[in-house]
Symmetry: C2
Subunit: 528 residues, 2 copies
Amino acid sequence: MPLTGHQLIGATARRGSGEAFHAVHAASGEIIADPAFHGASLADVDEACTLAARAFDTYRALPDEARAAFLDDIAARIEAIGDALILRAMDETGLPRARLEGERARTTGQLRMFAALVRSGDAWDARIEPALPQRQPPRTDLRLRRIGIGPVAVFGASNFPLAFSVAGGDTASALAAGCPVVVKAHPAHPGTSELVGLAVQAAIAAAGLPEGVFSLLFDAGHEVGAALVAHPAIQAVGFTGSRRGGLALMAIAAARPAPIPVYAEMSSVNPNILLPAALARRGEALARDFVASVTLGCGQFCTNPGLVLAVGGEAFERFVAAAASAIAAVPAGVMLTAGIARAYAEGVERLASHPAVTTVAQGAKASGRATASLFRVRATDLLADARLAEECFGPCSVLVECEDADQLRRVLEQGEGQLTATLHVDDADHDAARALLPVLERKAGRILANGFPTGVEVCDAMVHGGPFPATSDGRSTSVGTAAIERFLRPVCYQNLPDALLPDALRDGNPLGLRRRVGGKVEAVATPA
Amino acid sequence: MPLTGHQLIGATARRGSGEAFHAVHAASGEIIADPAFHGASLADVDEACTLAARAFDTYRALPDEARAAFLDDIAARIEAIGDALILRAMDETGLPRARLEGERARTTGQLRMFAALVRSGDAWDARIEPALPQRQPPRTDLRLRRIGIGPVAVFGASNFPLAFSVAGGDTASALAAGCPVVVKAHPAHPGTSELVGLAVQAAIAAAGLPEGVFSLLFDAGHEVGAALVAHPAIQAVGFTGSRRGGLALMAIAAARPAPIPVYAEMSSVNPNILLPAALARRGEALARDFVASVTLGCGQFCTNPGLVLAVGGEAFERFVAAAASAIAAVPAGVMLTAGIARAYAEGVERLASHPAVTTVAQGAKASGRATASLFRVRATDLLADARLAEECFGPCSVLVECEDADQLRRVLEQGEGQLTATLHVDDADHDAARALLPVLERKAGRILANGFPTGVEVCDAMVHGGPFPATSDGRSTSVGTAAIERFLRPVCYQNLPDALLPDALRDGNPLGLRRRVGGKVEAVATPA
């Protein structure tokens, strides 16, 4: 089926009345002429949001099994698009086939993981405190469950055209929570967005759900996104992108008559700390793995290791030399968009021209391509100019030479919030690591040992989040089952007749949920 | 021990360098001359916050049992103050002895409930996803727990001088989460605040905790509170008070270089809906119980039923008549402060003089006292002027006469977020109730049947929260065990050597926590 460039508003697919724009072939920079994508008008935004609000009560009242089956069906329909999805995403993003096939598997796996979470009912956090009529004063019956917060606005991210886009983690967790979703497609992969959006729309029709459960809007600029976040029907926002973009959405959300939460994942340099014993024993191997992580996917990961900290000395110099040779061998890379490539080139130039920064090595150069770049700086200079630790999105990293362990700790302590922090640690480094862990716990959402932060596992125990400015809200994660909590709020039912209670809280536990009753977790019969 | 009027900064008790103010005897309006309380200077704020930041890592690393014992000890020390606390609180607030004794029991019960929660370890939400080395790609070991968010600023509330003040629910849940607390005392009960503050300070000294775990600052104005919320060390805010106050703190928090969450509980009219069968069968009894709830504690509860909705007709008129006689018999009441009494009088006057409002009945009048007041309005007029549904804090309620069930639903749908919503319902009303429940779930944190919302049980299943503007953050509760979640954030540990993991996540489960391992909740041996 050919692409149409139509936005999807509820059950309809029709041309936006806003300005037209085109997808761009990332590798060649050439425009993909057909189709034109038309931006949404403010009336389109209002219509999508109003439909979402209208769909909310019906959608959130669906039995768990029906909502789970809907998520499973979205996954199946994304798979059924077949190679057309991969080919279009390759064209629009410049990402290689293997990466996009892996990302598709992650996307569908994620939808199925949330389906399983919905089936388990654990996210509803059912609690019952039975009446205590004999107590003085008597206690009346109290029951709690979590319900969806309301319609959610989701912004597709440029660097994950499937897993953080139209039916990515934000959408999957919001739909799992019982929230309708209005997606603002990222203009860097509008065709990919349309294909996935049509799959979601078809799943809604097949399940007979209210059409407002999902809409997909286009816009090459910022107006549609701003109107979406400001719309009274929208109750929460999911965003992955630049710090500037995230801060703009936070400001709009905070200025609403009724402010709403924004979950923006914005920027992180993901410090890697090379502890002395590990550095001395396996510095060269670390350097090679580090460069592989820095340049993976042309460095376009939120978890890219953009800062390396170690105490200076001979072992550090060997690490630097090994990393330099590895970087020098890196071919020039295709970036997601011309804008990202430009911003990267500017970031590299800003670092290279800073008087306190030494360029360690660069990879191959090619017109319109990104050059892998490695810099070094003394911790003293970094402490004097925190901008040296700002994210330069792309295949770039800054090596920080510290005078001693204390100074290394100070660099971390003065640094900003991060998605991840990594310790490279041998047995002899345990005391040094233990001294740093409290700082890392305060500064990062995920702490790794002896690995690299690129590669985010989708599971119960993942945290893809972290203190500001890594995200707008360090209490949350955008990956893993805990991501559903962002879109839930608790409601208490006091003394309701059993017939008026939601099934999750009724006497006799008709849904077979794991409930907390009188402070104890109810035993639930598990099928053998 | 006589009061000193000293602020408590860490382990010290010393005169603030800001302006002096005095407590006021609520019933007489006379100044209590001794002692003078001195407001904190900005240097005092900075010192308290810096000490809190310094105490954080040590305090949050305390074994669960030690942190729980500390909370228990605060409770015991508050009890040990004895009658001096009750007498001082009676003077400062005008609340009667029985109420304050009950509130003290709630306060100490709350501290002990959080101690039990800390001992259970359930709030740390420990999750383990074991490594899957055979999987392609292999999965590395991932573990998650929740830790404290950092130092928390707590604002004492005027209407709960114990349970929502210095060692109230916000402080107890923040301390339980592992967060140091800096309290801004409410100037309406500074002596009560000093007494409780000294108990907390003594518990810290007895446990040998870092002094910065708790500080108590005074200020009769807004400067200290504003500086506290803006201080870089503060990571979250707990507040109960006026909408204007809460909005001001939200604005300060959002404008920080690193924004922080604000949990402000602000205003609510707690709609009560009289469904036809219940109204017809027991309207008079409902009217008497309703008036008792409206006038309880001189109406100074966040959960005061300030709005009653019913379809007009003969049964409604009987309800109105019964409520009118009950209100007329209510003596004039002492309010917490002269400022609150003035605002109440203005609110009553605003309603009484509104052309669409009829004054149904008023209680006794007395100089400087609050007059219980009952008004009525047609739903059509309320829909035309939403200000008629704004909170008038005190013993006041507005009866709304609706044309039919549809219009009643529209009033709820157009109304603001609420802490509570109550259905008065007989068996024959179940269908009508079922039709309203989806609206109530969206609008309120707690839904009651056949009771009144005043009286908030402290337990696992309580939600004292609700959509904006009832609170700043409808995803949370300020009462009950779930209140601890406000001050926690998740941290993931990837591939850490067992020796570097926190005890909560180590192999062999040394703390005996209920952990989620590989998607299943681990069985934990429970003592018989």
